[in-house]
Amino acid sequence: MNDRLYKLSRTSPESTDLAQTAQEMASTTRRDFLKTLGTACVAIAIAPVAEKLSVAEAAKTENTPAERDWSKHKWGMAIDVEKCIGCGHCVVACKEENGVPKEPFYFRTWIERYQQFGDETVVDSPNGGYDGFPPETERAERLDKAFFVPKLCNACEHSPCVQVCPVGATFETPDGAVLVDPDYCIGCRYCIQACPYGTRFLNPITGVADKCTLCYHRIHNGQQPACVENCPTGARLFGDLKDQDGPLNQFLREHKIHVLKPHLNTYPKVFYSGIDKEVR
């Protein structure tokens, strides 16, 4: 292009002007482009810093996050195994409330059925109990004992999942729930390996680790977790361990309590009453 203009410039004075203008135009655009590029680079480098500074400013002036006292409570749950009828309404409610994928291997809570035949214990959980349980036809006449056990994240006080997270995306809240920060989880699956209760999964939609949050969005808005509210028999009891006279502490006083895998020293805050030695 410039070459052609240069040739033209040798033929007529008029075209010389034209060529100069064109060259000027070309060079100014290039300079402008380089300038813009430089500015953009600097801006990209500075943006997070500026954001940090402005956030720090904002934090000084207004006290975000919205005046909540995150350490006022210590949440826990008690499960009365002798009341559970294995209807699976809790599993349905949990999936509906929390958008848990419907495929049969993603659960924040699920129901296990224990059947004892003499020395042998058979555990099944068809679709986690989402559709209820089929009859115990097989060897039913030899069945010694059977019961249902609802499972969920045990909200461990010393949680292995929190300890292994390399980026601090899994954490225990000041009020005792164990949550995943979806914006910082890198999907490395360490926590899924670390949880001794198998309560975590990698959410195929978000690509990050997912688990029971004790319905954190509900309990902080004065409601019960979805599984608790939708249990027809009251087998699940949610409450505040700091409330000495509250229903949860009362339940813990009045019943013989067991936690799952106590030998692992995870100190669960999900307490089971009426559980058998087979349950892990």
């Binding site: 954001e51 349980f133 601090g168 809240t173 920060d181 954190y216």
Partner: protein
């Protein structure tokens, strides 16, 4: 100071400075507010609305059903167990955005006999109990202790 020593000190200082700067740059701003995590994750975790509404909300409009339900053995059983989550229905009451349960399946899900159910929980063997008749041909749905 001999140059070989000061050179080492410079290199070391540069590395430390680079580490501190990178860390400051990469760390989310509310990190460490409550512990070894991003403090902002807490308000984010409570920010979305529940899909199951409070148990008492249904009675605001459906007074008759609620009264019937409250008089029966299912008085503690939430409406949304059978009818599904009610948040969208409360915002815009339509018959299409609330579940109309299949009565037989809804009853039997809890009351069909299973060995693993607690013995004192009322259970039936459907074939013997009704011989295939629909539950609501004898029982009122919202207060099933009453039979028609």
């Amino acid at each position: 100071m001999p140059p070989q020593v000061s050179r080492l000190i410079y290199i070391f200082a540069t590395i430390v400075l680079a580490f501190v700067a990178t860390r400051w740059w990469l760390q989310p701003d509310s990190f460490g507010q409550y512990g070894h995590y991003r403090g902002k994750a807490l308000p984010a975790a409570v920010a979305h609305d529940p899909s199951y509404v409070p148990k008492t909300s249904c009675a605001d409009c459906h007074e008759d059903e609620a009264a019937e339900h409250a008089a029966g053995p299912h008085r503690k059983v939430s409406c949304q167990i059978c009818h599904g989550p009610g948040a969208t229905h409360i915002e815009d009451p339509q018959t299409t955005n609330i579940r109309k349960p299949d009565v037989a399946a809804a009853c039997l899900r809890c009351h069909e006999q299973r060995a693993a159910r607690p013995a004192r929980f009322p259970q039936i063997v459907e074939a013997d109990h009704a011989g295939g008749k629909a539950c609501n041909s004898c029982h009122t749905v919202h207060n099933p202790s009453e039979t028609e």
